[in-house]
Amino acid sequence: MRLYLLGLLALFSSVTAAYTLEQFQFDDPKQTLQFQKLIEELRCLVCQNESLASSQADLAQDLRAEVYEMMQSGKSREEIVDFLVARYGDFVLYDPPLKPATYPLWFGPLLLGILGLLIWVRVIRSKKRAADRELSEAERQRLQELLQDADGDGKQA
C-alpha cells in the first residue's frame, strides 16, 4: 500500500514538474517585464489557443528560450517578431498585421455590424410607417360595425 502511494506521488510530481518562466531572468527587471509582455503576444503553434507565455508545449519552451536569447543579445522587439514571422508566418502574432489577406479579419465584423444596423433601421421604419397610416373611409365603417357587434348581444361568433 505504501509503495502504491509512493508510486502515485511520483506520478503526480512528474506531471507537475512543468516549465516555469523563472529561468528567464534578466539583470534589468524592466527587460524581464518586456520579455513577459512579448511572449504574451506570441502564439504557440502547437496549442493554438495559448500564448507562448502560457503554453506547456515543448516547442513553446524552445521558442521562449530563443526569444530570451535574442533579447539577451540586445535584439529589439521588432527584430524578434520579424524573426518569428519569417519562420512561422503571421500566425504567431495574436495581433495580425493589416494587409489584403487579413482585410476580412479586420473589416468583416464591421461590415456585418453595418449590415445588421441597416436591416434594423429598415424594420423599425416600416413598422412606424404601418402604425402611422390613417384608416380609409371603408376601413373606418368596417371598424364601427365590428365594434357595434361586440357591444351587442355577444352571442355571435
Binding site: 516547442l59 521558442l63 519569417a86 519562420r87 512561422y88 508566418g89
Partner: protein
C-alpha cells in the same frame, strides 16, 4: 415580389453563411501555411546522426530534388509514415530523402532505423531544435519538397500517406528540370 424578397433574402443569407461554415469545417487549423515556401532553404550546418564527426549542410540539398523529412523516434505519426518513406526511397530514384532528426536522442533514432529500415540518404541531427526553428518546424512529421536550386516548393504537414507523393507533392515539382512548378 416584395414579400418574396423579404423571405428569400434571409434564406439566401443563411445559405451563404452555412456554406461558409461548412467550408470551414474542412480546413485544418493545425496546418499553418509556411512563409518559407518559394524561398531558398535556410542555411545550416549540423552533424550527421550516423556519424557525429561528419557534418551536413544546406549545400547537400543542391543539385538534386530532395524530400527533407523532419522526424523523431518518439513521434508516433513518423513511425506510421515510415513505411511510405521506405517505399518512396525504393521507387522514386529521382528524389533523395534527407532526414532532419528533430529533438531526439541519437541512440533511439538509430535503433528505429536499424529495426524498421533506413529510407534516408543522410540524417542531420538536431536534438536542440536549432535548425528546426529556422525551418519553421512546429511538429513532427513535416516534409519539405526542395528543388535542385535549394528552393522550397511545398511543405507537407503531418504524415505521408500512400497517395501523398502523387497527389500532394508531385504536382509541385518538375522532375525533368528538377525545379519547382505551379500545379496545373
Amino acid at each position: 415580389m416584395k414579400t418574396s424578397l423579404r423571405f428569400l433574402l434571409p434564406l439566401g443569407l443563411f445559405i451563404g453563411l452555412a456554406a461558409l461554415l461548412f467550408y470551414g469545417l474542412k480546413l485544418d487549423p493545425r496546418k499553418v501555411p509556411s512563409p518559407l515556401v518559394g524561398k531558398p532553404v535556410p542555411q545550416f550546418v549540423l552533424p550527421t546522426l550516423e556519424d557525429p564527426d561528419r557534418t551536413v549542410s544546406d549545400a547537400d540539398l543542391r543539385g538534386k530534388v530532395s524530400l527533407v523529412n523532419v522526424w523523431a523516434s518518439w513521434c508516433v505519426s513518423c513511425r506510421a509514415e515510415h513505411a511510405q518513406l521506405m517505399r518512396l526511397s525504393r521507387t522514386l530514384k529521382e528524389v533523395q530523402i534527407f532526414g532532419l532528426n528533430w529533438k531526439d536522442r541519437a541512440e533511439d533514432a538509430l535503433r528505429m532505423l536499424r529495426l524498421s529500415g533506413n529510407p534516408y540518404v543522410v540524417n542531420a541531427y538536431d536534438p536542440e531544435n536549432q535548425v528546426g526553428i529556422d525551418w519553421g518546424v512546429y511538429g513532427a512529421p513535416e516534409t519539405f519538397l526542395v528543388d535542385q536550386r535549394g528552393i522550397i516548393c511545398y511543405k507537407q504537414i503531418g504524415p505521408i500517406g500512400p497517395d501523398t507523393w502523387e497527389q500532394e507533392l508531385a504536382p509541385w515539382i518538375d522532375l525533368k528540370t528538377r525545379t519547382c512548378r505551379e500545379p496545373n
